[in-house]
Symmetry: C2
Subunit: 299 residues, 2 copies
Amino acid sequence: MAKLIECIPNFSEGQNQETIDGLVKVAKSVPGVNLFDYSSDKSHNRSVFTLVGDEDGIQEVAFQLVKYASEHIDMTKHHGEHPRMGATDVVPFVPIKDVTVEECVEISKKVAKRINDELNIPIFLYEESASNPMRKNLAKVRKGQFEGMPEKLQEKDWAPDYGERKIHPTAGVTAVGARMPLVAFNVNLDTSDLSIAKKIAKVLRGSSGGYKYCKAIGVMLEDRNIAQVSMNMVNYEGTPLYRTFETIKFEAKRYGVNIIGSEVIGLTPAKALVDCAEYYLQIEDFDYQKQVLENHLLG
Amino acid sequence: MAKLIECIPNFSEGQNQETIDGLVKVAKSVPGVNLFDYSSDKSHNRSVFTLVGDEDGIQEVAFQLVKYASEHIDMTKHHGEHPRMGATDVVPFVPIKDVTVEECVEISKKVAKRINDELNIPIFLYEESASNPMRKNLAKVRKGQFEGMPEKLQEKDWAPDYGERKIHPTAGVTAVGARMPLVAFNVNLDTSDLSIAKKIAKVLRGSSGGYKYCKAIGVMLEDRNIAQVSMNMVNYEGTPLYRTFETIKFEAKRYGVNIIGSEVIGLTPAKALVDCAEYYLQIEDFDYQKQVLENHLLG
């Protein structure tokens, strides 16, 4: 069966329609790739493309888009609210079907090397592709932004993974990497006490000793006057949704608080939810790839 | 997005390889249709094909297969263990993606009409397509088999839905209909008392006053020495898996018995399990079509 990989490149252009149209044209030009979605934000001055394709196609389209962006976006003239360091700011690859995140790491490295070889843009590998833990987090990699990159590249810890310690004059620096699909999962509590949601979020957060692949904060839903534990599940296989749900349930009990509902925001891979059904229905020996009908229809 | 429909025609030939190969060739000849699987059983003298295709393709391939079968299978010479009434015995259409079972009923009627118009084979509509409740159940429709059909067609209640009261001399009678995908779901109990599984199965079965879309029996798993409630979920939207699971849990408690696990046998649509995750995680306002990533990749 065909491997399916998602790529979500972010470009530092959200205003010039001609350039955006040019990127769309490139995105649609590669066989074996579908442009799934794209959106531009004027105040961020940034566009996000979502592409899905096979192993060869996704590498080709990612490279061609970075090339087009390097030829049409001039970072020395770029202004926008969103942090950015390159004409193509970031290129994540995400496993969708019949492919592992490890294979996506290999793909990200091949694309990164080609971008540097042919376009002379220095590359930081990030997330699962990172060469050291400091580079996993995109925010840390991008810190200093385009304007601060010439100096940052001179620092001891910040030699690029590909290329020399010197930005591309107009295209800056690009981050390339692989990551699992992200699931935005929020759990609502029957309390208006935000501090309880915050305490539970702290229990869950990998960074404060909780589940490794869960990012969590406590927020208020003002219109409903209830507190919510808002999570980004950055690897639903490493930390399944049901595990955070059950943990919230038993932690909330300490405060006499109950779960009243939850939300999945935006897209989720079916498997993130099927895994939860497997848990709750106590299904023995379920083989997701073989037993889910849709897996035999794709590609 | 493209509609995807499954068709699982059953042919009364499981021995003559030339005829089976001919059916395979026809199955692969229609654009927009994939032959997903096929298997032949010699003692049943029967072959089952699984095809998935778009709205036009699936109708065309179903008709062409029935035509080929009517030209190459002679029911007057057919012997096999499985009950049968026609060269093509049964043609069910099943909704897979972006299509309702009601639309599949319409498709089944169009194909049924064409089969009768062009091949002169009388048709019974069954399952969701049935013209009256007596014809929903295939076993009742097929009762009497090929040999008894000439007489059955004369009975007051058994005029065909398409065609006259007269079998096709060699191809007999065919049942055509639409149904939901079937999920085989078994729940294991921590008891070796089969009578408990049987009592719970009776509570669940639609036919004995339980859930409309659940067929259930109690069986022994001899190798594990435990009793099992074995179910066919014939419409997982009408009767979701979690509902039978939770019912088994609370009914088993009466006997001091617990669920120790469950099994999904063979294929299941992802939605049958995602619906369960929605229930257990208390997800508010989940939109399966829009929010499940894979729905945007198919077709």
